[in-house]
Each structure stands twice: as structure tokens, then as C-alpha cells.
Symmetry: C2
Subunit: 261 residues, 2 copies
Amino acid sequence: MRWLRYEVNGQESYGIVEGDEVVAVTGDPFAGYELTRARHRLRDVKYLVPVIPKTFYAAGLNYVEHITEMAAKRGEKPNIPPAADIGYRANNALIAHNENIVIPHDAGELVQYEAELVAVIGTKAKYLSEADALSCVLGWTIGNDMSERTWQRNDRTLWRAKNSDTFKPMGPWIETDFDLEAARTIVRVNGEETDNFQTNHMLYSVATFISRMSQYLTLWPGDVVWMGTEGSPKNLKHGDVCEIEITGIGILRNPLIREKR
Amino acid sequence: MRWLRYEVNGQESYGIVEGDEVVAVTGDPFAGYELTRARHRLRDVKYLVPVIPKTFYAAGLNYVEHITEMAAKRGEKPNIPPAADIGYRANNALIAHNENIVIPHDAGELVQYEAELVAVIGTKAKYLSEADALSCVLGWTIGNDMSERTWQRNDRTLWRAKNSDTFKPMGPWIETDFDLEAARTIVRVNGEETDNFQTNHMLYSVATFISRMSQYLTLWPGDVVWMGTEGSPKNLKHGDVCEIEITGIGILRNPLIREKR
């Protein structure tokens, strides 16, 4: 099942995607819903961020080739995380499928995508074993962890490097039926493939992260956990269009523009 | 004006504190409100976290003596931040005035308070000058940035060191009339004063942080910015009661218990 959050005629709603249409519901996939008779063509609705999380979690460094290749670019030794210590991103930066990523006017040239699988939490959970960890996951979506590398390297925190407004595209929808083992993540810039990797080739699995997190914190419906990226992402500039596909979920597409001040 | 968020008879509401009573409103201080005729004694209501922020910002290292004293304890040189780079905390960890801080069962002995001034954003804001920065602030409250120092030092991120459930007490209310220059922050553990410092003796001012943040990100109504702490906080253990007073705002009081597994 595909859960779309969307706007039509100024009204926000959740709906279930059926082919090239969405069937509106009352309520939401977290607290409960009822189908309505309203249907819209997908091309006629504005896609919204699938959920605004209570807490926005991000694994950060979670694919070995990404860690080693990024360290090599900086002339440093790779620093493989010794445990599944979760990090954070910020809700101000979230945008939906099709919305513009706005590069700050004073950003450098090293503005890069990071293609990430996102687990969307569906039920309140604490003290989950690894075997039970995925029981709290409602479904899966796609995130683009946009990063300005100069700020990432030099600032004391990741605030503007990772969390400038529009730097966290998420969508297009939440897919509840997803074969994580079979999935591949594919990035295309202006239609040309720039990355293609096995989505689940992670250092620490989704279950490992969620189980460990849940020993200390309560996961809440609507929380999201971004799982990190593989490889060595490419630069993006004004006029580019970045598409991230995760097979079995869909495609998250965002154009880029540079802010004028 | 003091804005209390509270629960009575199972209903959550905002209200305005008058003496030892609270006058209920419909709506909230951000989107608009109307007074009602309902009044309750403060001692009869359950205090709630004053606001669940869209994004939870925290300055981290922002008082020079705290930075130098904490570094000395670790046998390191102090690392004074060269710019007002904002950090983050997590909503899962928020609790209200009077609620228990629960120390995880496997935490060490170095579980410490950090007494912080909190700016509560009232209006959507971007590109603010330092002179205009405080125009987006609705009011002020108190935060306790509870920290487990062993995890803070050894984990790759601050997740369980700073964001274990219950590690972010905030309250008791939002005070809109506040003289920041005159304020002092006072900490008492089991009634005994353990810290007392000038609240505004900050490395980077509230206005400096908000102005710089707003060049890259939109501040939203309900966002909170925790401003850091001074000095060298003390350990807390099961059975202690920690009170943080900021003169002109009030007292945030929380008992501590250690989790049993």
C-alpha cells in the first residue's frame, strides 16, 4: 500500500495510491483512517512531505564505501563507527517531491545529494529486540540528505551544511510493502545515472539501529529514521534535477535553484 | 504574561497564569487565543511541556567557564566555538515541570544537569538582522539539558548522552515579560544551591544565534532555542530533586529516579 500526503483545492489529506490515482481518506495511517469516495489523479495534486516527524533521526555514516571514499577525498583515514549511534536532522529543512532545493547564495560548489532509505515509524515502541525491531515500522520512503561539504567540514555542527531550508527532500510517499533485500538505490542527475547501489548494504541494519535506539528512547508514530548513503555523491548546481529511485518504493525528484540575495 | 500549557480532567489547554491560578484560553499563544471563564488553581493542574517544537535547537557550548572547566576535567584544552553554530536536541526526551527524570539503568555516575535559558519562537522568521532578531521571540522558559558524560564523551553522537527519554525537562511556563540583562540562573539540588550565574553571560548572545540561524533556516512558531549553560554542573542520582530557577521566569523542578530493568 502506498500512502500519499497531498494537497488539492487548498486541503491537505492522506490518501492511498491506486495506479495513477489517489483515494482520499479521513484520518491518517498512524491514528486510523476511513476511505472516502474522493479520487484525484496524481498529476492533479500537490505532493506534501509524507509526515512531519516528532523526532527526525538520521544514521549518518552507515555504508563502508561512503565512509572510506569521503575520507579519501579529504586526505584522511576512514573512521568506521564502532556502534549504531543515531544522529539527527531538522524539520525546517523538509520539502516534498517536486519542490525546489534552494542552494544558499553563499554556498560553495560542493553541494551534493545523499540518497537514503527512510524507515517511517507507525507505532509507539520501546525496548525492542532486533528480531522485533521492524514491527514498529509502518513503511518506507526516500530521503535526499543534501550536504554542503565545506560547511560540513568546518562548522562545529551540521546545522547549515545539512539543515539549510529545503535541504531534506523526503517522499514521494510511504510504501508499506517493500522488499528491503531486493532493493537498489539509483541516483540520476539530469536523467543520467550517477549512482547505483544495493540499498541494504549497510554497516548497521535498520533493525540494529531501531533496537539499539529503543533501549533509551521511545519511538513515536511518524518518527523517521534516515539510513545513510553509499559511495561518493556528485555535485549539484542551479538548473540540475536530482532523482533518487529506490526500487519498490518510487522516485523522489527535485529541481535545484541557487538563491539570489 | 505567563503562558502555561496544562492538563485538567484529561483535557489539554493553554492558559494565562494569574497569581496562583490559571485562566484557560481557547487556541494557543502562537496562532491566537480567546480567554474563557474557566479558572483552575495551579496546584490542581498537571503541568505540560510548554510547547512541542517543530525543531528543537540547542546552542551547546556557549559559556566560557563551562567550556574551560569541562575541558579541564577531561584533561583537554578548551575548544571555544569560533562561531554561533547551532545544534539540536530531540523531542522524545522532553518532559514537564514536576515529572521524573529517569536515569537509564546502565548509565554511569556522571549524570549531570545543565541549567539553560530557552527562547521560544512566536512568529515565522527568516533573514533577521541582529537588531531585529528578538522580534520573533514570544517568550522565555527554562531547560535542563541532562547529560550522561561517559556516553557524551565516547558515543559518536549525543543521542543517549543527551536525548534519552526524560533527559530534557522544559518549563514551567513561557514568560513573555523578561529582563534578560538582570536575570540570574540558580541551581539547587535537594534544596542546596550548587550553581548561581549571570544568565546573559553568554559567548554568543541570543540575538547573534537567532540572526545567524535565520540566514539559512526559517524559524517557526513553537521552535525553541536552548542557550547553553555556565560552570561545572554536579552529579545527580536516584532520589535527588533538581531545581533550576531563572529569576523573572520561575523554577523548573524535577525529581530523579534510576530505571530498574
